[in-house]
Symmetry: none
Subunit: 157 residues, 2 copies
DNA sequence: TGGTATAGCATGGTAATTCATGGGAATCAA
DNA sequence: TTGATTCCCATGAATTACCATGCTATACCA
Protein backbone atom coordinates (compact mmCIF):
# COMPACT_ATOMS: atom_id res chain seq x y z
CA UNK A 1 0.00 0.00 0.00
CA UNK A 2 2.98 2.27 0.48
CA UNK A 3 3.12 4.59 -2.46
CA UNK A 4 5.46 7.11 -3.86
CA UNK A 5 4.21 10.53 -4.62
CA UNK A 6 5.18 11.38 -8.15
CA UNK A 7 3.01 13.06 -10.73
CA UNK A 8 3.69 11.34 -14.03
CA UNK A 9 2.43 10.72 -17.52
CA UNK A 10 0.57 12.95 -19.93
CA UNK A 11 -3.21 12.88 -19.81
CA UNK A 12 -5.76 14.63 -22.03
CA UNK A 13 -9.03 15.50 -20.29
CA UNK A 14 -12.03 17.50 -21.35
CA UNK A 15 -12.98 20.87 -19.95
CA UNK A 16 -16.73 21.42 -19.98
CA UNK A 17 -18.66 24.67 -20.30
CA UNK A 18 -18.43 25.26 -16.56
CA UNK A 19 -14.67 24.94 -16.51
CA UNK A 20 -14.77 21.53 -14.89
CA UNK A 21 -11.95 19.03 -15.49
CA UNK A 22 -11.31 15.59 -14.11
CA UNK A 23 -8.06 15.51 -12.24
CA UNK A 24 -6.39 12.31 -13.48
CA UNK A 25 -7.12 9.43 -11.14
CA UNK A 26 -3.45 8.84 -10.39
CA UNK A 27 -3.03 12.44 -9.33
CA UNK A 28 -6.04 12.22 -7.09
CA UNK A 29 -4.63 9.13 -5.43
CA UNK A 30 -1.44 10.98 -4.60
CA UNK A 31 -3.18 13.99 -3.14
CA UNK A 32 -5.39 11.75 -1.09
CA UNK A 33 -2.46 9.75 0.27
CA UNK A 34 -0.67 12.93 1.20
CA UNK A 35 -3.78 14.10 2.99
CA UNK A 36 -3.27 17.30 1.09
CA UNK A 37 -4.95 19.51 -1.47
CA UNK A 38 -4.18 20.65 -4.97
CA UNK A 39 -2.78 24.12 -5.47
CA UNK A 40 -2.58 25.75 -8.89
CA UNK A 41 -0.99 28.94 -10.16
CA UNK A 42 0.09 30.49 -13.44
CA UNK A 43 3.52 29.36 -14.55
CA UNK A 44 5.98 32.21 -14.36
CA UNK A 45 7.71 31.25 -17.57
CA UNK A 46 5.31 29.28 -19.73
CA UNK A 47 1.76 29.61 -21.01
CA UNK A 48 0.53 26.88 -18.72
CA UNK A 49 -0.89 26.23 -15.31
CA UNK A 50 1.28 24.68 -12.65
CA UNK A 51 0.00 22.58 -9.83
CA UNK A 52 1.26 20.65 -6.87
CA UNK A 53 0.19 19.28 -3.54
CA UNK A 54 -0.15 21.98 -0.96
CA UNK A 55 2.58 20.61 1.25
CA UNK A 56 5.19 21.27 -1.44
CA UNK A 57 4.47 24.99 -1.17
CA UNK A 58 4.73 24.59 2.56
CA UNK A 59 8.23 23.20 2.10
CA UNK A 60 9.11 25.93 -0.37
CA UNK A 61 8.05 28.61 2.08
CA UNK A 62 10.18 27.06 4.79
CA UNK A 63 13.17 26.79 2.50
CA UNK A 64 13.01 30.42 1.53
CA UNK A 65 12.66 31.33 5.15
CA UNK A 66 15.81 29.48 6.09
CA UNK A 67 17.83 30.21 3.02
CA UNK A 68 20.92 32.41 3.27
CA UNK A 69 22.40 32.04 -0.18
CA UNK A 70 22.69 34.93 -2.56
CA UNK A 71 19.67 33.80 -4.54
CA UNK A 72 17.38 34.18 -1.61
CA UNK A 73 16.19 37.67 -2.51
CA UNK A 74 15.36 36.62 -6.01
CA UNK A 75 13.68 33.46 -4.85
CA UNK A 76 11.80 35.44 -2.28
CA UNK A 77 10.39 37.64 -5.00
CA UNK A 78 9.43 34.68 -7.12
CA UNK A 79 7.82 33.06 -4.15
CA UNK A 80 5.72 36.12 -3.53
CA UNK A 81 4.52 35.97 -7.09
CA UNK A 82 3.52 32.37 -6.72
CA UNK A 83 1.80 32.65 -3.40
CA UNK A 84 -0.01 35.73 -4.59
CA UNK A 85 -1.30 33.79 -7.54
CA UNK A 86 -1.83 30.34 -6.07
CA UNK A 87 -5.23 28.98 -5.21
CA UNK A 88 -6.45 25.82 -3.58
CA UNK A 89 -8.61 23.49 -5.59
CA UNK A 90 -10.68 20.79 -3.97
CA UNK A 91 -12.15 18.10 -6.13
CA UNK A 92 -15.69 16.83 -5.84
CA UNK A 93 -16.86 13.26 -5.36
CA UNK A 94 -16.28 12.48 -9.04
CA UNK A 95 -12.77 13.91 -8.97
CA UNK A 96 -13.22 17.17 -10.81
CA UNK A 97 -11.88 20.61 -10.12
CA UNK A 98 -13.13 23.90 -11.55
CA UNK A 99 -10.36 25.96 -13.02
CA UNK A 100 -10.67 29.72 -12.93
CA UNK A 101 -10.98 31.94 -15.96
CA UNK A 102 -7.65 33.55 -15.11
CA UNK A 103 -5.80 30.26 -15.23
CA UNK A 104 -7.54 28.98 -18.34
CA UNK A 105 -6.81 32.20 -20.18
CA UNK A 106 -3.16 32.18 -19.20
CA UNK A 107 -2.79 28.67 -20.55
CA UNK A 108 -4.98 29.22 -23.60
CA UNK A 109 -7.17 26.29 -22.64
CA UNK A 110 -10.63 26.06 -24.13
CA UNK A 111 -12.07 22.56 -24.26
CA UNK A 112 -9.17 20.22 -23.57
CA UNK A 113 -6.61 20.23 -20.79
CA UNK A 114 -3.34 18.33 -20.96
CA UNK A 115 -1.94 17.21 -17.62
CA UNK A 116 1.82 16.72 -17.70
CA UNK A 117 3.57 15.10 -14.75
CA UNK A 118 6.73 16.70 -13.37
CA UNK A 119 7.45 14.62 -10.31
CA UNK A 120 6.50 16.73 -7.32
CA UNK A 121 4.61 19.11 -9.56
CA UNK A 122 2.52 18.92 -12.68
CA UNK A 123 1.47 21.27 -15.42
CA UNK A 124 -1.73 21.83 -17.34
CA UNK A 125 -1.46 22.87 -20.98
CA UNK A 126 -3.64 23.44 -23.98
CA UNK A 127 -3.04 20.69 -26.57
CA UNK A 128 -1.57 23.20 -29.02
CA UNK A 129 0.85 24.78 -26.59
CA UNK A 130 1.89 21.43 -25.22
CA UNK A 131 2.67 20.07 -28.67
CA UNK A 132 5.00 23.00 -29.25
CA UNK A 133 6.55 22.76 -25.82
CA UNK A 134 7.17 19.05 -26.05
CA UNK A 135 8.95 19.45 -29.37
CA UNK A 136 11.08 22.23 -27.96
CA UNK A 137 12.04 20.23 -24.89
CA UNK A 138 12.97 17.11 -26.83
CA UNK A 139 15.25 19.09 -29.07
CA UNK A 140 16.75 20.97 -26.15
CA UNK A 141 17.41 17.98 -23.95
CA UNK A 142 18.87 15.83 -26.69
CA UNK A 143 21.33 18.61 -27.35
CA UNK A 144 22.41 18.49 -23.71
CA UNK A 145 22.19 14.78 -23.20
CA UNK A 146 25.44 14.42 -21.21
CA UNK A 147 23.71 16.26 -18.39
CA UNK A 148 21.33 13.37 -18.09
CA UNK A 149 24.12 10.98 -17.30
CA UNK A 150 25.93 13.28 -14.92
CA UNK A 151 23.34 13.81 -12.26
CA UNK A 152 24.36 10.77 -10.25
CA UNK A 153 27.50 10.47 -8.20
CA UNK A 154 27.61 6.86 -7.02
CA UNK A 155 27.36 5.37 -10.46
CA UNK A 156 30.16 2.98 -11.15
CA UNK A 157 30.33 0.99 -14.33
CA UNK B 1 15.88 -12.07 1.97
CA UNK B 2 17.48 -11.16 -1.29
CA UNK B 3 21.06 -10.27 -1.92
CA UNK B 4 20.79 -8.30 -5.11
CA UNK B 5 18.28 -6.02 -6.76
CA UNK B 6 19.46 -6.25 -10.31
CA UNK B 7 17.40 -6.76 -13.42
CA UNK B 8 19.16 -9.40 -15.50
CA UNK B 9 18.78 -11.88 -18.32
CA UNK B 10 16.80 -11.69 -21.56
CA UNK B 11 13.23 -12.95 -21.54
CA UNK B 12 10.74 -13.28 -24.39
CA UNK B 13 7.08 -12.88 -23.37
CA UNK B 14 3.88 -12.61 -25.31
CA UNK B 15 1.86 -9.44 -25.64
CA UNK B 16 -1.86 -10.09 -26.08
CA UNK B 17 -4.39 -7.98 -27.95
CA UNK B 18 -4.94 -5.75 -24.93
CA UNK B 19 -1.27 -5.02 -24.48
CA UNK B 20 -0.88 -7.32 -21.51
CA UNK B 21 2.54 -8.84 -20.80
CA UNK B 22 3.82 -10.95 -17.98
CA UNK B 23 6.58 -9.16 -16.18
CA UNK B 24 9.30 -11.81 -15.79
CA UNK B 25 9.03 -13.51 -12.42
CA UNK B 26 12.51 -12.41 -11.39
CA UNK B 27 11.67 -8.79 -12.07
CA UNK B 28 8.49 -9.07 -10.07
CA UNK B 29 10.40 -10.48 -7.14
CA UNK B 30 12.71 -7.49 -7.14
CA UNK B 31 9.94 -4.94 -7.31
CA UNK B 32 8.08 -6.68 -4.55
CA UNK B 33 11.15 -6.85 -2.37
CA UNK B 34 11.72 -3.14 -2.88
CA UNK B 35 8.11 -2.55 -1.95
CA UNK B 36 7.92 -0.47 -5.08
CA UNK B 37 6.25 -0.36 -8.46
CA UNK B 38 7.36 -0.50 -12.05
CA UNK B 39 7.72 2.69 -14.04
CA UNK B 40 8.17 2.67 -17.82
CA UNK B 41 8.98 5.36 -20.36
CA UNK B 42 10.19 5.68 -23.92
CA UNK B 43 13.94 5.50 -24.27
CA UNK B 44 15.36 8.83 -25.37
CA UNK B 45 17.83 7.27 -27.76
CA UNK B 46 16.60 3.82 -28.78
CA UNK B 47 13.41 2.33 -30.17
CA UNK B 48 12.65 0.57 -26.93
CA UNK B 49 10.85 0.98 -23.64
CA UNK B 50 12.84 1.57 -20.49
CA UNK B 51 11.70 0.55 -17.05
CA UNK B 52 12.84 0.74 -13.48
CA UNK B 53 11.51 0.56 -9.96
CA UNK B 54 9.64 3.66 -8.96
CA UNK B 55 11.96 4.51 -6.13
CA UNK B 56 14.71 5.21 -8.61
CA UNK B 57 12.63 8.08 -9.94
CA UNK B 58 11.67 9.00 -6.43
CA UNK B 59 15.33 9.55 -5.71
CA UNK B 60 15.66 11.72 -8.76
CA UNK B 61 12.69 13.82 -7.71
CA UNK B 62 14.13 14.25 -4.25
CA UNK B 63 17.45 15.36 -5.66
CA UNK B 64 15.74 17.95 -7.77
CA UNK B 65 13.66 19.04 -4.84
CA UNK B 66 16.69 19.45 -2.61
CA UNK B 67 18.76 21.28 -5.15
CA UNK B 68 17.30 24.67 -4.24
CA UNK B 69 16.56 25.05 -7.88
CA UNK B 70 12.84 25.35 -7.72
CA UNK B 71 12.72 27.72 -10.65
CA UNK B 72 15.46 26.43 -12.89
CA UNK B 73 14.57 26.23 -16.56
CA UNK B 74 16.88 23.34 -17.26
CA UNK B 75 15.38 21.23 -14.52
CA UNK B 76 11.98 22.15 -15.79
CA UNK B 77 12.81 20.69 -19.16
CA UNK B 78 14.35 17.59 -17.71
CA UNK B 79 11.51 16.81 -15.36
CA UNK B 80 8.95 17.42 -18.07
CA UNK B 81 10.64 14.97 -20.33
CA UNK B 82 11.13 12.23 -17.78
CA UNK B 83 8.03 12.46 -15.65
CA UNK B 84 5.81 13.59 -18.48
CA UNK B 85 6.57 10.44 -20.35
CA UNK B 86 6.87 7.96 -17.49
CA UNK B 87 3.95 5.94 -16.31
CA UNK B 88 3.40 3.77 -13.31
CA UNK B 89 2.50 0.14 -13.94
CA UNK B 90 1.04 -2.12 -11.31
CA UNK B 91 0.86 -5.80 -12.03
CA UNK B 92 -2.13 -7.97 -11.28
CA UNK B 93 -2.24 -11.19 -9.28
CA UNK B 94 -0.86 -13.14 -12.21
CA UNK B 95 2.03 -10.72 -12.68
CA UNK B 96 0.99 -8.87 -15.79
CA UNK B 97 1.17 -5.21 -16.72
CA UNK B 98 -0.69 -3.48 -19.53
CA UNK B 99 1.60 -1.49 -21.75
CA UNK B 100 0.18 1.57 -23.45
CA UNK B 101 -0.17 2.08 -27.16
CA UNK B 102 2.34 4.93 -27.03
CA UNK B 103 5.04 2.73 -25.57
CA UNK B 104 4.34 -0.25 -27.81
CA UNK B 105 4.43 1.94 -30.89
CA UNK B 106 7.70 3.58 -29.90
CA UNK B 107 9.30 0.18 -29.46
CA UNK B 108 7.66 -1.37 -32.50
CA UNK B 109 6.25 -4.17 -30.37
CA UNK B 110 3.30 -6.12 -31.67
CA UNK B 111 2.96 -9.60 -30.21
CA UNK B 112 6.24 -10.32 -28.45
CA UNK B 113 8.19 -8.29 -25.91
CA UNK B 114 11.84 -8.90 -25.08
CA UNK B 115 12.86 -7.95 -21.56
CA UNK B 116 16.55 -7.14 -21.28
CA UNK B 117 18.09 -6.63 -17.86
CA UNK B 118 20.35 -3.64 -17.32
CA UNK B 119 20.99 -3.68 -13.61
CA UNK B 120 18.91 -0.98 -11.95
CA UNK B 121 16.91 -0.60 -15.10
CA UNK B 122 15.64 -2.83 -17.82
CA UNK B 123 14.53 -2.42 -21.40
CA UNK B 124 11.71 -3.87 -23.45
CA UNK B 125 12.32 -4.44 -27.15
CA UNK B 126 10.61 -5.95 -30.12
CA UNK B 127 12.40 -9.17 -31.15
CA UNK B 128 13.49 -7.58 -34.44
CA UNK B 129 14.90 -4.43 -32.92
CA UNK B 130 16.57 -6.36 -30.17
CA UNK B 131 18.30 -8.65 -32.63
CA UNK B 132 19.72 -5.63 -34.40
CA UNK B 133 20.69 -3.94 -31.17
CA UNK B 134 22.39 -7.00 -29.80
CA UNK B 135 24.39 -7.40 -32.99
CA UNK B 136 25.39 -3.77 -32.85
CA UNK B 137 26.51 -4.03 -29.24
CA UNK B 138 28.55 -7.15 -29.90
CA UNK B 139 30.25 -5.55 -32.86
CA UNK B 140 30.96 -2.46 -30.81
CA UNK B 141 32.54 -4.43 -28.02
CA UNK B 142 34.68 -6.51 -30.36
CA UNK B 143 35.92 -3.35 -32.01
CA UNK B 144 37.09 -2.00 -28.67
CA UNK B 145 38.49 -5.25 -27.42
CA UNK B 146 42.05 -4.83 -28.66
CA UNK B 147 42.20 -1.53 -26.84
CA UNK B 148 40.95 -3.15 -23.71
CA UNK B 149 43.56 -5.87 -23.85
CA UNK B 150 46.65 -4.04 -25.00
CA UNK B 151 47.10 -0.82 -23.11
CA UNK B 152 48.56 1.43 -25.73
CA UNK B 153 50.41 4.56 -24.72
CA UNK B 154 49.24 7.76 -26.31
CA UNK B 155 45.97 6.38 -27.62
CA UNK B 156 43.99 9.56 -27.83
CA UNK B 157 42.81 8.98 -31.34
C1' DT C 1 19.98 -42.45 -12.76
C1' DG C 2 15.61 -42.22 -14.67
C1' DG C 3 10.87 -41.45 -14.13
C1' DT C 4 7.11 -39.17 -12.01
C1' DA C 5 4.75 -35.86 -8.98
C1' DT C 6 4.62 -30.89 -7.87
C1' DA C 7 4.91 -26.15 -7.77
C1' DG C 8 5.56 -21.95 -10.30
C1' DC C 9 4.86 -19.42 -14.41
C1' DA C 10 2.96 -17.54 -18.75
C1' DT C 11 -1.21 -16.87 -21.05
C1' DG C 12 -6.41 -16.73 -22.51
C1' DG C 13 -10.87 -15.39 -21.23
C1' DT C 14 -14.30 -12.90 -18.53
C1' DA C 15 -16.47 -10.55 -14.62
C1' DA C 16 -16.22 -6.59 -11.78
C1' DT C 17 -14.69 -2.08 -10.96
C1' DT C 18 -13.12 2.43 -11.90
C1' DC C 19 -13.09 6.46 -14.54
C1' DA C 20 -14.27 10.44 -17.38
C1' DT C 21 -18.02 13.04 -18.62
C1' DG C 22 -22.87 14.89 -19.28
C1' DG C 23 -26.91 16.62 -17.07
C1' DG C 24 -29.59 18.43 -13.52
C1' DA C 25 -30.80 19.62 -8.64
C1' DA C 26 -29.54 22.18 -4.65
C1' DT C 27 -27.17 26.03 -2.54
C1' DC C 28 -25.45 30.61 -2.32
C1' DA C 29 -24.76 35.64 -3.59
C1' DA C 30 -26.39 39.78 -5.15
C1' DT D 1 -35.52 36.29 -8.58
C1' DT D 2 -31.55 35.54 -11.45
C1' DG D 3 -27.17 34.03 -12.27
C1' DA D 4 -23.52 31.48 -10.75
C1' DT D 5 -21.33 27.88 -8.29
C1' DT D 6 -21.25 23.49 -5.92
C1' DC D 7 -22.91 18.92 -5.27
C1' DC D 8 -24.80 14.52 -6.69
C1' DC D 9 -26.58 10.92 -9.83
C1' DA D 10 -26.47 8.44 -14.39
C1' DT D 11 -24.06 6.21 -18.15
C1' DG D 12 -20.94 4.18 -21.38
C1' DA D 13 -16.40 3.07 -22.01
C1' DA D 14 -12.11 1.64 -20.52
C1' DT D 15 -9.31 -0.50 -17.17
C1' DT D 16 -8.33 -3.82 -13.78
C1' DA D 17 -8.89 -7.91 -10.90
C1' DC D 18 -9.93 -12.58 -10.87
C1' DC D 19 -10.46 -17.53 -12.44
C1' DA D 20 -8.94 -21.35 -15.34
C1' DT D 21 -5.66 -23.95 -18.24
C1' DG D 22 -1.55 -25.79 -20.09
C1' DC D 23 3.32 -25.84 -19.97
C1' DT D 24 7.91 -26.04 -17.98
C1' DA D 25 11.31 -26.48 -14.72
C1' DT D 26 12.24 -28.34 -10.32
C1' DA D 27 12.05 -31.52 -6.57
C1' DC D 28 11.37 -36.03 -5.03
C1' DC D 29 11.36 -40.99 -4.96
C1' DA D 30 12.43 -45.55 -6.40
Amino acid sequence: MRKTFLFMDTIFNKVDSKGRVSLPADYRAIVKELNSEIVCYRSLVSPCIEGCAEDLLEKLATEIEDSNDFFSQEQDDLTNLIFGDAKRFTFDSTGRIVLTEKLLTHAGITDTAVFVGKGRKFQIWSPENWAKEEARIRAEVLKKRPVLNAHKSGDNA
